[in-house]
């Protein structure tokens, strides 16, 4: 075939087939253009409607209070402070950890690793991980970061195996104003976690005993088995004791004598509250003979009368005007001590100087298996210059220890049931008013660099969990960015004798940073809005403070919004809308920062 005939054949083939209608092609082109435009418009309209709706609903709620208040059950006082700062913390941790790891991985895969089956396996898996639902990462985060698989020796979230930057203090408050009296670093973390309402006392400023501070109803107890009579009165009561009401020598003082005119009363226990009086409740079954009794009057003027069995030692307590708030378990007598030296226990008013003042109060032990109990004494009026023991508190958990504490710098005795560990020490009372019980707790102060293993459900674990969510995306974005750098630049650098690291550091990475940043911005935007993994991590929702260290508890905006949105009532819906606005602002702020960084870097390159 000659060249000419080849050309003829070609011109025949180029004009073969039916000619397409030019107008039709133009029309299809037009339709497609309109279709694309309308689809785009739908997206824009939907976005606009969404934003306007949220703005209209949530705009009014955007007050300084909304930003400054913590979560609340009342919509008018609810705010986003904890969630806002929680989100900021989480995103910072997430970004600071995810970026170096993600970019580093990408650099390794793209610049250093040989292209073999192993690295392609890694690549495939990273791509797969990017598609894993975020809730799955929550479970991974909970297991790995919050609990660290519960490995032996690593401890648990609440009692971590390793802590750095944590100090324990024993803190004491006076009962009235809640004023902190003293705070002393304690040597060790408490063996038993303190519960609310428990008090603690110092002995020699070293030993701490826990004291229950439980409000019991007022009681006058005559324990037949032990022979002690006890008055327990959380409210102000007045107790007088005497042969009869007429024989009171000094009103408002304590006394004891044989009952000349025994009255019928309950032999065993008399309950006293401000509403119930002894007369009404317990004067039915009168004992046939009683030689001694206690008579008291509560704040409302009700009489209290309690028998004191014949031949028993008794302790009488209470006085006019005194507020007795010590919590007193049922008393038992120290049989051994009572037998050898009954005066230590038989406290009588009038025999002052021996037993009433704290200085003369001596330690004693309780023999046998019965638990140690307390003794309550009081200061007689007029004797105020002498520091006296006013009350005694015993911790039921430390059954073996007997602690007596008075006002300032009085003798405190610690007596153990166990003879070997018996000890006594001088201690200090921190109550301004010794008639009031101390309130105390053992608290942990954490510094800003506090760190623990396992991490627990803190900011760090949350940030790392989100890091897991976005890490595959960051890696993929970075790999693509590095791949987009022309190979000729690498070659040029290597040909000048640069090492691989020098090439990455000075050529490849600077050239790819803008794209890496773009990918990271998208990833971070996802992290900010993510609620599911944090939900699975199980963080608390109602938090009334902002995080102060990486292990601190936190909540995040999406969780807070989700919670509000799920509640009935328009006011909560409005809160949710305001929260969404805040979330968007945070998101845009982060993005703006990243775009700014990107622009800075681009400027130096171009």
């Amino acid at each position: 075939m000659s060249i000419a005939s080849k050309g003829n054949e070609l011109s025949r083939l180029t004009s073969a087939g039916e000619a397409r209608s030019g107008r039709r092609r133009e029309l299809i082109n037009r339709i497609f253009y309109v279709a694309c435009l309308s689809i785009t418009s739908i997206a824009i309209v939907a976005l606009t409607v969404l934003l306007v709706t949220i703005a209209v609903e949530g705009w009014e709620g955007l007050t300084p209070e909304f930003l400054n208040n913590y979560g609340s059950r009342k919509p008018e006082s609810a705010g986003v402070k904890a969630a806002l700062w929680g989100s900021v913390w989480i995103c910072c941790v997430c970004g600071i950890v995810a970026l170096p790891i993600g970019v580093g991985t990408a650099i390794y895969l793209e610049e250093f690793a040989a292209k073999n089956r192993f690295t392609s396996f890694i690549r495939t898996n990273i791509s797969n991980l990017a598609g894993v639902p975020s809730i799955v990462y929550g479970i991974i985060g909970l297991t790995i970061f919050a609990r660290m698989f519960g490995l032996p020796g690593i401890g648990t979230e609440t009692s971590p195996g390793l802590t750095v930057g944590s100090t324990w203090y024993d803190t004491f408050y006076d009962a009235e104003g809640g004023r902190m009296m003293r705070e002393v670093p304690s040597r060790d973390a408490p063996a038993l976690p303190l519960e609310t309402g428990q008090a603690a006392l110092f002995i020699n400023e070293l030993d701490v005993s826990q004291v229950a501070d439980v409000a019991l109803p007022a009681q006058i107890v005559a324990d037949d088995a032990t022979g002690f009579t006890v008055v327990i009165a959380p409210e102000e009561i007045m107790i007088t004791v005497g042969e009869s009401s007429a024989t009171q020598e000094r009103p408002g003082m304590l006394g004891e004598s044989a009952a000349m005119n025994p009255r019928p009363w309950n032999d065993t226990i008399a309950l006293l509250t401000s509403e119930r009086t002894l007369n009404e409740t317990t004067l039915k079954d009168a004992p046939t003979r009683t030689s001694r009794w206690l008579e008291g009057t509560d704040a409302l003027g009700n009489d209290l009368i309690v028998p004191v069995p014949e031949g028993r030692n008794s302790i009488i307590t209470g006085d006019t005007g005194y507020r007795l708030r010590a919590v007193l378990p049922r008393i038992t007598r120290s049989e051994a001590s009572a037998e050898s030296d009954p005066e230590k226990i038989d406290v009588r008013y009038g025999e002052s100087g021996r037993v009433v003042t704290g200085k003369t109060w001596r330690e004693y032990r309780v023999a046998g298996k019965r638990p140690t109990r307390y003794v309550l004494r009081q200061l007689p009026p007029g004797v105020e210059d002498e520091p006296l023991a006013n009350w005694v508190l015993v911790d039921p958990k430390y059954r073996n220890e007997f602690v007596e504490v008075g006002r300032e710098n009085v003798l405190a005795n610690v007596v153990s049931d166990d003879a070997d560990t018996s000890r006594s020490a001088r201690g200090t009372v921190f109550a301004a008013d010794a008639m009031e019980p101390l309130k105390g707790e053992r608290i942990e102060r954490r510094s800003w660099y506090y760190f623990q293993l396992p991490f627990g459900k803190g900011v760090f674990a949350g940030g790392l969990t989100l890091m897991l969510v976005i890490l595959p995306v960051v890696i993929i974005a970075s790999v693509e960015a590095l791949r987009a750098v022309p190979n000729s630049l690498r070659q040029a650098s290597l040909a000048m004798g640069a090492t691989q690291w020098q090439t990455v550091r000075q050529v490849t990475l600077p050239a790819s940073i803008p794209m890496i940043m773009t990918g990271s911005i998208l990833a971070m935007s996802r992290a900010i809005g993510e609620a599911a993994p944090i939900l699975v991590l199980g963080v608390a929702l109602f938090i009334t403070r902002t995080p102060e260290n990486l292990m601190d508890q936190f909540t995040i905006l999406p969780m807070q919004i989700y919670n509000w949105a799920g509640r009935p009532g328009d006011s909560f819906q409005q809160l949710a809308a305001s929260g969404i606005i805040i979330l968007l602002v945070v998101l845009l702020t982060f993005n703006a920062a990243a775009i700014l960084i990107r622009h800075r870097l681009q400027k130096t390159l171009k």
Binding site: A114, S488, L489, A492, L494, M496, G497, K606
Partner: protein
């Protein structure tokens, strides 16, 4: 490679605009081996036989199972321009890239036989590739300046190997650019991006970048193929000027160019070295018929 720190500062104090001094200056700044009586006499102008810079003995190369080079025996003389010519795929570029071991970056590339640079075996795995590439600069087919400023482009390679004061660095950049005959065009915009230069300027920038490191050998892989004729002429002129100080190996498809710029020409065909001779002789009286066919345009 000798290091003479005390000679470094002295040339810098001279008048920088004295063209005659510049050639020496660049090499001194880059701490190149100083000129000796012996090497000075080996310039092409001298009658003494040229000293061999690169020497290959039975050098073969493979990409995986494909044998790209077959038992080459080629001596490249010092301070001359050696042109490698031949049709596409004949192994010229492969050979060139073995001289600075750029083939190391290609998976599956390997070689056998010997290749020495100044007597040192550079195919040895113990050979320090970083130092080798400092001694053997390379200019690529397409200009590939870094997306940095003109100044940074030149300073980049120098800063990889040595720590400079700002003043020394500025002088080094200036001298390198002068040497590459581009100083007058860019002296007012050193802070501008190198990507804003024309193709020919970019290629001269790349040459300046390569000589700023202080190499002994310059490899050029079709340095003019992506340039217009005027830029090509500028580069050719530059190459002719540079051969007094550098051993230059040029790969080119353009036989007129090879004839114009080179002292020695080697003709490659399908991985074999067919013929190597003085350029004038090879282009006028080739001893092999294959060469004759190629240069007279009967194939290729």
């Amino acid at each position: 490679m000798m290091h003479e720190p005390e000679t470094q500062s002295q040339p810098l104090e001279r008048d920088l605009h004295e063209e005659d001094n510049l050639k020496v200056d660049v090499m001194s700044i880059a701490d190149r081996a100083p000129e000796t009586e012996d090497t000075m006499s080996n310039t092409p102008a001298a009658a003494a036989p040229p000293k061999t810079m690169i020497s290959t003995r039975d050098f073969s190369s493979w990409y995986g199972k494909f044998k790209a080079l077959h038992e080459l025996n080629l001596d490249i003389p010092e301070r001359m321009v050696t042109a490698l010519i031949g049709p596409s795929g004949c192994g010229k570029s492969t050979f060139l890239r073995w001289i600075n071991r750029m083939n190391d970056t290609i998976a599956g590339a390997r070689s056998s036989g010997g290749m020495t640079l100044g007597g040192e075996d550079i195919t040895d795995t113990r050979c320090d590739v970083v130092d080798l590439r400092r001694r053997v600069g390379m200019v690529f087919q397409r200009p590939n300046p870094f997306p940095k400023s003109i100044f940074e482009n030149i300073a980049y390679g120098a800063k990889l190997h040595r720590k400079y004061t700002r003043g020394d660095l500025e002088q080094l950049v200036e001298h390198s650019l002068r040497q590459a005959a581009i100083w007058d065009e860019v002296k007012d915009r050193l802070k501008d991006s190198a990507l804003g230069l024309s193709g020919g300027q970019q290629q001269r920038l790349c040459i300046a970048r390569a000589i700023a490191v202080g190499p002994e050998v310059l490899l050029m892989d079709e340095p003019c193929s992506a340039l217009d004729p005027r830029s090509s002429a500028a580069i050719e002129e530059l190459i002719r000027g540079l051969r007094e100080q550098y051993t230059i190996v040029v790969v080119t498809h353009n036989m007129q160019q090879a004839a114009r710029i080179s002292d020695i020409t080697a003709f490659f065909y399908e991985g074999h070295l067919v013929e190597t001779d003085e350029t004038e002789k090879l282009f006028t009286r080739p001893s092999e018929k294959q060469t004759d066919d190629y240069i007279s345009g009967r194939f290729g």
